[in-house]
Amino acid sequence: MNQPMLFVPEFALLAGVLLLFACTALGASQRTTWLVSTLSALAVVVACLWGLGLDGEPFFPGIYRVDAFSQLFKLGVAVALALCVLISQQSASMRSLSRVDAHFFFFMSALGMMMLASATELLTLYIALELSAYGLYILAALHRHERIGGESAAKYILFGAAASAVSLYGISMIFGAAHSTYVAAVASSPMSPMLLFGIVLTLAGLLFKLAAFPVHAWAPDAYQGAPHEGAAFLGSASKVAAVAVLLRVLSLAGADAEQLQTMLLVISVASMTLGNLAAMVQKDFKRLLGFSAVAHAGYLLIGLAVLSPLGAASAIFYVLTYVPIILCAFIVVSAVSKHGRNPAIADLAGLYKRSPLLALVLLVAMFGLAGIPPTPGLAGKWFLFSAAIDAGFLWLVLVAAVNATVSLYYYLRVVKEAYLTPPEGYEDIRLSPAFTMASVFAMLLVFFTGFYPGPVFQLAKEAAIALGL
């Protein structure tokens, strides 16, 4: 394969970035920008689909790997990106001045995420991590109702910067212990306390991206404070990228780090329990999703902690199928939101009457998050739990399953609000074609993967094998 061809998905994305930059610079209208951005995102999806089979190292050896693993994650990011820009036509929750710029930041951040999936060198990884984060920091700050937007963004960036500093400090120790920043070299170097020390500290920054305990506190705030589309991107693409990079880094920790596994298991249990419990009492729908994201980080960490090929494949499957599900939720958030305000759970009242399609989308999202078939949530949990039991962690599965039960309580509360409460005092919602399209597309993805998880799992498994586990 021709070397530059390996970079096609990134090129497509880069082209999108440049186009959008041009739009911003030339003062294009909001509608034009949206069209350009949507078409570019579509092109990126196509490029990623085309690029699924690519394999090779485009630049210097050992720095940037294009393989089944990276390409699958790029596809995930691209799909998330496409859906997010598709619903950003109005962006009622953003300041009107930023609505054009937001698309640029989407693409920038997505570029960083795609590179994260391929990075096999720690500096590259760090740069990609930061690149992906900057766009998100800015997006998080664009909420029209700035009071919470400013606070959440400030907390997000300062917390993120501190975490990334810790990460970098960790990377410096890995560098010192392994004498190299290449993942392959680190993986083959002898295990030393300093190396492990470095790995743990590096993980701090990466777990921050996943919103796992104890670096989860930004998530509910940022979900709540970011404009809806930004939060959607934060909740979907960022999660994908986080899993990608965590899998890369953990695969270099090797198999003999039993304590590392213990730590990840503790983090997993703490994340899911804390996230689910706190989500139960939330009133703001987006904040609820933020806490639920913490809980899902916990589920994902099961696969990451087990770190068997099956565990990795399950985590990949889970996070990829999680994308359309969480986007379903944010589509509803965005569509229900009035004048860009954050919808409380009570604002979902009577959705079945106000917009049956949205109600269905919400139902799919909630069932998906709760792991109820025919959404892929069940298959995802099933695979993750299989990996855990395969590794001998029956108790973990029990804890996770009880957690899933708790989570059902608040997901059903949302469903109840949408389907039971009469729509008094709320007017009907007219969906724009873009929203209808996004809804249908996201639901199709959910149902396809739910009814027929085979192909995606196959891709996930190939990705896990490509990871070298």
Partner: protein
Amino acid sequence: MSDMPILSIILLAPLVAFLITVVLPEAQTQLIKIINAVAGLTTLVLALVVWASYDKDLGGYQMIEDVPWVPDFGIHYTVAVDGISVVLTMLTAIVFLTGVLSMWTLEKRVKEYFAFMGLLVFGVFGVFISLDIFVFFFFYEVAVLPMYPLIAIWGSTRKEYSAMKLTIFLMVGSALLFPGLIALFVESGGHTWNLVALSQAGTFSESTQIFIYPFLYIGFGILAGMWPFHSWSPTGHVAAPTAVSMLHAGVLMKLGAFGILRIAIGVLPLGAAYWAPTFAVLATIGIVYGAFVAMRQTDFKYVIGFSSVSHMGIVLLGLNTLGVDGVNGAVFQMFAHGIMTALFFSAVGFIYDQTHDRDIRHFGGLVGQIPVATSFFILAALCGMGVPGFASFWAELLVFIEAIRVFPVLGMVAIVGLVFTAAYVLRVLGLAIFGPKNSDWDELVEPTPFLSIPRIMLIAVLLFFGFVPSLMVDMISSATHIFSAAGASL
């Protein structure tokens, strides 16, 4: 006929009805009802075809369809029927059709109602015919969750609380099933989810079986209304609308018992043998407990709800005997109880729809006011008491015969429970159906012939298998004769 994927067609019929219902505009209520009735009729006809074409002498799993689903994880879409599945598929089809017909007068949010119901039935069919653990669980969850909106939207009496309670209880059951079911796969070497392959003797060591079995038994048992995890069931019954109660008690609770039989006992016979005495005690407590609590209830549906706890106790006791007659009886009881409870709820629902009252003390002498409608209730009550001539008599007989053999004391206690069953059933009859009439309800009207159809169908089935039980027992025992060998070796 043999190369037609008849099981998949049965499975897909409610799904197709679901999809059409979702697509149709909300105002087309009549069309939606007709489509669902057609789907119900289709499944019933096909279930009859399956019944007729199942070769009882050959036994085992027949009409197998096998398609890789998640090949990288050994998951196959494998469906097949044995004698037990045939019976339960038939039960589901009957309850589906009669459930649709019972809700013919529904006017509130018709489209969504039938959509959820179609989804639920789809899941139930899937459970009864699947042979792959993942597929089984997939359908199991599909069947359980629509109960939430069905009860919460169309129910009555603390409907949201009940719906949530029911769902959470069942999810706790699932929480136990997750580790239990997956452990089967892992412990067997991680190659297959196929139930037949996993059932091979020697797949699991005895200690493994003993460890995993309670996860599965309790996990499924919660859905089967197993004492002491039963309290979701009466609450749910009371809150649910008629057809949902019918499906809930008629079919859904059977999923739990079926899961115990097919997976817990089928795959882990040694574990079952180890735990059987313990769980038989719980089942017996359930029988007597349900009857006693039913004696104090004042709501029609609570009485029926606790009678379900009691009757499902009989099913569970039968399963725990691990003997061929006990299991035959248990499966027969699943069927009979399914039809009977559907009839019960259908009859009560008819009365409730007119009166919006279910307190038995507010009624009296109903039989004089609406003799036809109450006669449905009386017949269901007789069946509930295990009166001969109704299907449940034979079911209970078989269970008790085996129970006395295996657990003499428990068996006797369970039989003594029959007295209390009679007591609470007659209490309801005496208070509400007979006795001095309450002239508040003089204006009650009889069901139209069309509305009587589903009830008459259910009665006909009960009487038919009450008079010709051999048809049923032959079918069931074509699957359980394998069981007897297993039982003997224990």
